[in-house]
């Protein structure tokens, strides 16, 4: 640990860091722009200047850049020397030469790093009398708003978008003071991670377009710690609310999970919460099929009369919280509880849970995955099924570069130097999939195989690892890179709806384990709480858990069926749904948005979304994390756990009617099985206080409190009380030094932008001061996972193809697809084929194909992929048009002669929506 001196003060600093990091770690405010903890230093903005002295006698010193100067034993610096402060002030002054005076109409205003740094260096008056440069803006799609005049050319956007996230369509153009950051022509940004530009840009060049439509300043947002429900990765998010509307979602730092970045589905996919299709009141179906709105109590009394002393069953949901699923299971009894997975998914989830419980491999966090130096991906298009993991994998392939840098004695933060040194050398990554994946560009080898063959590939690799031999080059290469690596990582998952692939991946991990090489095994699952639900049903019964189809067959003996946040159309065949609807005398269902299952029900209960309720989700990493309500549910909506608790109370349920608070539900759930005992530690309970007070959801500068409701009544209502969590709907209290799982937003004096995060971190780029949110609940026995035998091959007739699900980051997920911007990006449902098949069928991209699966015929638009396994065609999974298609089934294809080719309408759509469109983009 070297000791350095800053303005005479001795500091013990970590070996290998730079002075900027050392200063920030010591709590000193040294301004910076281009440096980013996740992206390292390039020294381009010249802002973090300080003076370095040769020795104790040296009084003149020389100016050095903090981010480019490594710490050395006994080095002397000054932050406050006059020439250093003058230099920094002059840098900001020159950056401001061309910066427009449009802060009042800028979406970044109030959380702008440039504003903060300008105030910090004390620059105020403009001396330059020349004219300001201006630039034309570009249309960058429905998510990102571009205002190039505000640019200070720090290059963070390009470094993030191209170097970090692997994007190809945004970059720097022109030179000197003409530098421009944009696309080669207007158009939608192609990266799935483009939303992070909003947080990476230190000023307002890239701003959140959907947020701008109903903008509020950062200080006016009421925020709470939350968990993204877009997929199973469990990224931490901080949604903000104002006037009863969810305004935006920002990243919430979790050192081990999402770090500083989110995917676009997570950041922009919550618009459905403000949708008009939300239910406000409970409804009872009238004989004519329409619904009559009833009050909460009436709905509960009705439901209770249908449940009490009756034969009931319940269907849970992989997108509902663990607590809600637990309550439903207790209410209906474990023997009558269906997890709510589709039959095929239930089988895979069972396999995954058993594997994770027994495997010798570890289940890594994204942070751990970033340390992998050899990766084998089996069957998963990670960018579309677990997007944030893919961003992590783009960092793991850079470990080769860091290895080279270490040999050269370069510190890991020397970003430009390391990229220059490594060029295209990457750590090996082998992708075995049926079709193109979005990680193909950084893979060392891509293998296109049908689902069964992917599974066989896994087994073959395992065999070679165990000492077997094979002719297959790809298999040999995979075995070789895994054996040669320090931290091998195997990724697979449920997206192909093929349990064999998961088993193949487990076999590889076990084979590595038996070579006493600790492997990492990450299995992607579909929804935010898929794993939690699978764990819940896995240990309840000795017999196999009930499935939807089995329930449908025995439903004639059923009085009442309770459905929790589950649209059966997405998980069961139409015949099963018809059976259920016909047989069950009464159906009670609760959900967030209107859907066909609600329309089939006799009583519907309006459920609160994730932003209005609290609960625990178990991510694919096995990390249980708690989300808290950002604001109170409007009208008569209630969180599902409260509906179920009130139902249990009205039915005088033996154990559940004793529970009153959320914490008691958590404790009861934790006591229900050994794996769940740590659930009580996921987040502090409701009696937690920081500095004697609850954690405020509102900033200390929350405005308009005496006017926002005055339009309704001038008599100000009391602030709503939160009796269930340690957070308050208030600005009272201190947002500092609390547990990491409770940080609602980041702000620190002088640091209004998201860069204030460093004041919450224990050290730069380290965990938060309050630890890391979430608890990993799966403790593997380490006995080794059992593997089932290899799958048998199906025999194909000519002109038949295997259907392969193609997941899309925008469109495949049920809830986010109801957000306007996501729906626009998702585009129409498609059938994906290879070039050769397209020629054979006589179609080109944009044509129509009739897909025949059994008795169903669907016309879908053709999408041509560059890499498709033999005899495979892909379909857009999770789109409402393709719900009837089943992964793995055999289909035949004919050209649709009546198909009308769609015309591109991206820019026109933008103009129609008005707000930021039209001539403003010219």
């Amino acid at each position: 640990m070297p000791t350095i001196y800053i303005d005479g003060q001795a500091l013990e600093v970590a070996q290998g860091e730079n002075i900027l990091e050392a200063c920030l770690n010591a709590g000193m405010d040294l301004p910076y722009f281009c440096w980013h903890p996740a992206m390292g230093s390039i020294g381009s903005c010249r802002q973090c200047a300080l003076v370095q002295y040769q020795n104790e006698e040296d009084t003149r010193g020389r100016i050095v850049m903090g981010c480019m100067t490594p710490v050395t034993e006994g080095a002397r610096f000054s932050l406050n020397a006059e020439n250093a402060t003058e230099f920094r002030s002059a840098v900001v002054e020159s950056l401001m030469l061309n910066h427009p005076h449009d802060c009042p109409v800028c979406g970044e205003g109030g959380e702008c790093h440039l504003q903060d740094m300008t105030v910090m260096v004390g620059h105020r008056d403009r001396r330059y009398t020349g004219k300001k440069n201006t630039h034309r803006n570009q249309y960058l799609g429905p998510l990102i708003h571009h205002e190039m005049n505000r640019c200070i050319t720090c290059y963070r956007c390009e470094r993030y978008y191209r170097d970090y996230a692997g994007g190809k369509d945004l970059g720097a153009q022109a030179s000197h003071d003409h530098v421009y950051f944009g696309r080669h022509e207007e158009g939608v940004l192609q990266s799935e991670f483009s939303g992070n530009l909003v947080e990476v840009c230190p000023t307002g060049v890239f701003t959140d377009k959907p947020f701008l439509k109903h903008y509020s300043r950062k200080w006016d947002l009421q925020s709470a710690p939350s968990i993204c429900s877009g997929c199973a990765v469990g990224c931490n998010i901080a949604p903000g609310e104002r006037y009863g509307k969810l305004k935006r979602v920002h990243n919430r730092y979790n050192h081990e999970v999402n770090g500083y970045f989110l995917c676009d589905r997570g950041r922009f996919g919550s618009g459905y919460i403000n949708s008009d299709a939300r239910l406000d009141y409970a409804g009872i179906k009238k004989p004519d099929g329409s619904f009559m709105a009833v009050h909460q109590q009436q709905a509960i009394d009705t439901a209770a009369s249908w449940i009490k002393h009756k034969k009931i069953a319940g269907i849970g949901s992989p997108r509902a919280s663990l607590e809600a699923n637990y309550l439903l299971r207790e209410l209906v009894g474990a023997a009558n509880f269906v997890a709510g997975f589709s039959d095929s998914e239930a089988e895979i989830m069972g396999t995954i849970v058993r594997s994770l419980k027994n495997t010798t491999a570890s289940n890594p966090s994204i942070k751990q995955m970033e340390a992998a130096d050899a990766i084998l991906i089996l069957g998963e298009d990670v960018t579309n099924t677990a997007p944030r993991v893919a961003l992590g994998l783009r960092q793991s392939v850079r470990n080769k570069a860091f290895e080279l840098a270490e040999q050269m004695g370069l510190p890991p933060w020397q970003d430009a130097a390391i990229r220059n040194l490594a060029q295209d050398q990457r750590s090996p990554m082998i992708i075995v999939s049926a079709m193109d994946t979005r990680l193909d560009d950084v893979a060392s080898r891509c293998v296109s195989l049908a689902a069964d063959d992917i599974a066989s590939f896994g087994y073959a690799v395992a065999e070679v690892l165990a000492g077997g031999k094979t002719e297959d080059m790809a298999v040999n290469e995979a075995a070789e890179i895994l054996l040669g690596a320090k931290n091998p990582l195997i990724i697979s998952g449920s997206s192909m709806s093929h349990a064999g692939i998961v088993n193949g991946a487990v076999a590889v991990a076990e084979a590595l384990g038996s070579q006493s090489k600790p492997a990492m095994l990450s299995l992607c699952v579909a929804e935010s709480n898929s794993l939690g639900l699978a764990l819940l049903v896995d240990s309840g019964l000795k017999t196999k858990p009930l499935s939807i189809s089995k329930l449908a067959k025995k439903s004639s003996k059923l009085d009442t069926l309770i459905i929790l946040e589950n649209d059966l159309e997405r998980r069961a065949s139409n015949t099963d749904i018809e059976l259920l609807v016909k047989a069950a005398a009464k159906i009670v269902s609760m959900d967030i948005l209107e859907n066909s299952t609600l329309n089939n029900s006799d009583l519907v209960l309006p459920a609160a979304s994730y932003a209005e309720s609290q609960g625990t989700l178990v991510s694919s990493e096995g990390r249980a994390q708690r989300y808290f309500p950002v604001y109170q549910p409007a009208a008569e909506r209630l969180p599902s756990w409260q509906w179920l608790l009130q139902l249990a109370d009205a039915c005088e349920h033996k154990t559940l009617s004793e529970l009153e608070h959320f914490d008691q539900v958590v404790s009861a759930c934790a006591a229900s099985q050994p794996l769940f005992t740590t659930l009580v530690d996921v987040a502090p309970m409701r009696d937690y206080r920081s500095q004697g007070q609850k954690i405020p959801r509102q900033t200390h500068r929350y405005s308009g409190r005496t006017a926002m409701n005055a339009g309704v009544s001038v008599h100000e209502p009391q602030q709503p009380e939160d009796t269930e969590s340690p957070l308050a709907f208030s600005m009272e209290g201190l947002n500092r030094d609390e547990a990491a799982s409770l940080i609602p937003f980041v702000w620190s004096p002088g640091w209004n932008s998201n860069q204030s995060l460093q004041k919450f971190q224990a050290e730069v780029d380290g965990p938060l001061k309050g630890g890391t949110a979430g608890v990993r609940i799966i403790q593997s026995t380490g006995l080794g996972a059992l593997q089932s035998s290899e799958p048998a091959e199906q025999i194909l007739k000519s002109h038949q193809w295997h259907l392969v699900p193609v997941h899309q980051v925008h469109g495949s997920e049920e809830m986010s697809a109801n957000t306007d911007e996501i729906a626009e990006l998702a585009g129409p449902a498609f059938i994906a084929i290879g070039q050769k098949v397209a020629e054979k069928l006589g179609v080109t991209e944009g044509d129509g194909l009739i897909v025949t699966q059994g008795k169903t015929d669907i016309s879908l638009q053709v999408k041509i992929l560059s890499r498709v396994a033999k005899n495979c065609v892909g379909f857009s999974a999770g789109y409402s048009e393709t719900l009837e298609l089943t992964a793995g089934s055999l289909v035949s294809l004919i050209k649709d002669q009546q198909w009308v080719r769609p015309t591109s309408q991206m820019i026109a759509t933008d103009k129609r929506t008005g707000t930021q469109g039209g001539s403003a983009h010219v």
């Binding site: 427009p100 004219k131 201006t134 003409h178 006037y243 006017a707 005055a710 339009g711």
Partner: protein, 171 residues
């Protein structure tokens, strides 16, 4: 004793000086234009709403009696969808006027705002917006700076150069 006598003398003396009080409301006092009374929202010289819904007035308000929501016009300019001042809370401190970057919000010399019903003290945008420029006759925020609008192209604001052609090779 002496002090009491002196007080009586002082009071007596004032009997013969000119009275400062006026017979309000029959006689109206003169209040200077910079007097801090009823708040108005003004328009720019072109007749457009000046307010760009930047939220600075609401943020600076010590009693938090201003609430508004930003909306966007067809050409990308900002305006308040609603703008509400709860005058039953307002202390006429004038900080909103100081904070306003567009001279939209101004305090006027009108102080006669009494109501029998407190609810009538809540002013919405239609009550606040006047058809005039107030104390600053010439100022138009979007002509001076801000983003491109329907009537102002890039580079046409004050002190701005024409937009850069990034494809040009000229220095």
């Amino acid at each position: 004793m002496l002090s009491e006598l002196r007080t009586i003398w002082e009071v007596l003396k004032h009997t013969f000086t000119k009275a400062e009080t006026v017979q309000y409301p029959e006689e109206m006092p003169y209040l200077s234009p910079r007097y801090r009374g009823r708040i108005v929202l003004t328009r720019d010289p072109d007749g457009e709403e000046r307010c760009v819904a930047c939220n600075l007035c609401a943020a600076v308000c010590p009693v938090d009696c201003i609430a508004l929501q930003k909306d966007t016009r067809e050409d990308g300019t900002w305006y308040p969808e609603f703008f509400r001042i709860n005058f039953s809370r307002c202390i006429m401190c004038g900080m909103c006027e100081e904070a306003c970057p567009t001279y939209a919000i101004q305090l006027t010399p009108d102080f006669e705002m009494c109501e029998y019903d407190r609810q009538n003290m809540v002013y919405e945008k239609e009550h606040l917006l006047i058809n005039g420029v107030g104390k600053y006759p010439d100022y138009n925020f979007y002509r001076v700076s801000g983003m491109q609008t329907a009537t102002k192209d890039k580079g046409e604001a004050q002190n701005e150069a024409r937009p850069i052609d990034t494809k040009s090779l000229l220095p």
